[in-house]
């Protein structure tokens, strides 16, 4: 399957070095690593926001050198990425800006995107009127509404409480399993090993300074996944332990 291929070496004072990996279409790939391992730098390079000092990022064989409509990004700090001067619906339709759709069509698309993330009828509210979890759902809806090929998430659930985090994880999984979004490739950066195993098809472990790929581990757990059954399964525990070992190994 045609997907993403990345190959690059150092960036700046060797934040990343020789990072090479592929992502398949429709795959949910988790990137795990401690802070300072260059996760955010890697993410920005993959989005086209930053140029690598060496190597390249390829999407469907084409190099990624600038942001494109095929790529979307969800930030950790939803409070600072949603536009505070627009209501929720307009925040989502903003992402459809130049698609050549009529205003009514943009509205409908945005409303259905909001419904997909479990937000119905909040379109006329402003972001600050919503809870953190709901704001992040808006951010996810905004990322998905333009039907990108790849969605990157930068520690998206790190700024919410644990209960909301579990909720949002399931929202993400639910959305990814729908027919419209099944073929969207998701690259999910997180520092939470359990979250990575819970969500992903495959987990990459990054080691710090300079950032490099330490391991690529397949997650063979069955879908649909649940917070209760999946997380207590022996397969889950084995995988998370393996990951913790790899990370500890990398720290040495």
């Amino acid at each position: 399957m045609e997907g993403l291929g990345k190959r690059y070496s150092s960036d700046g004072p060797a934040a990343l070095s020789g990072v090479t990996f592929d992502v398949a279409e429709g795959e949910l790939l988790a990137l795990v690593g401690p802070s300072g391992c260059g996760k955010t730098t890697l993410l920005r390079i993959m989005c086209g926001l930053l140029a690598p000092s060496a190597g390249s990022v390829l999407l469907d064989g084409r190099p990624v050198v600038r942001p494109s409509s095929d790529i979307a990004l969800v930030f950790q700090d939803y409070g600072r990425s949603l536009f505070p001067w627009l209501d929720v619906l307009r925040n989502v339709t903003f992402a459809l800006g130049r698609n050549g759709l009529s205003r009514a069509e943009r509205r409908t698309r945005a409303e259905s995107a909001l419904r997909e993330v479990g937000l119905d009828g909040v379109g006329s509210k402003y972001p600050w009127q919503l809870s953190g979890g709901m704001q992040q759902r808006v951010a996810i809806a905004r990322a998905l509404v333009s039907r990108p090929d790849v969605v990157f998430l930068d520690e998206p659930f790190a700024s919410v409480d644990a209960l909301t985090r579990a909720e949002l994880q399931d929202v993400l999984l639910a959305v990814h399993s729908t027919t419209e979004h099944r073929r969207v490739t998701i690259v999910h950066v997180t520092h939470d090993v359990d979250e990575a195993v819970y969500l992903a098809d495959r987990v990459l472990v990054l080691t710090p300074s300079p950032g490099a790929v330490a391991a690529s581990i397949e997650v063979g757990l069955s879908r649909p996944r649940t917070q209760t059954a999946t997380r207590s399964s022996p397969g889950f525990l084995a995988l998370r332990n393996e990951l913790h070992d790899v990370i500890a190994e990398g720290r040495r």
Binding site: C47, S68, F75, R80, S81, W85, Q129
Partner: protein, 259 residues
Amino acid sequence: MSLTRLRGTLLGVLVFAAALAVWDVWPRGEWAAFYFPGVDHIGRTAWDVWPSSDFLRAVGASLTRLALGYTLGSLAGIAVGLAMGASSRARSTLGPTTEFLRAVPVIAVLPIAIVLLGDGDAMRVGIIAFGVFFPVLVAAVGGVRAVPPEIRDTAALFRLGGVERAVRVYLPSALPAIFAGLRTALSIGLVLVVISEFTGRGDGLGVAIWNWQSVSAVPEMYAGILFLGLLGYVLNVLFLVLERRVLAWHYGAIGERTR
């Protein structure tokens, strides 16, 4: 209005009334009595002068010039401010020049303005625009530079071109800061409209005050000054009402954050 607000306003009015009372009862000799007439004398003169058609026409002329100069200066300040805020190259290119011009006291520019634009409306509007431009510029640059990186990245990810990014993203994001600059600029503009009219020619509130001063029509002069103070106060109140409307989203957002 809540009780606490009412009490606060009442206190403010009381302080103002007390100041007037002090003015009135302060002992004066003959010279002082002429140049510092009592409150009731000023009040009676104001009562006669303010509604007169000459006076109202003069006020209208000043307000028109203020509106023109303010609009010109603000639009220019916002446009240049957006450009300089968004681009470090623009900042380094235009920075030294704007900083230098900003340091020059506007009043000192008056003679140059007269030479360049004559002693008419063009000069006055020009002076006002010049004075309004800089506080708005500084506020706009600061506002744009304070745009959170996530919003900048989002705008980049939406592949917005430079101008579209500046107008659709940076401008609204920086609007609270820009409004602060606009409020300062309003006070400056009002001062300048009067000062530019102190050359005495033509019509306007400043011309009227200046002429009264030069013929020693002292109560009339005070009446003019009093009107000027009230005008400034009213303009400020109107501005705040407008700001509350336009920036409702901002006040909501920071209100939530400080809960």
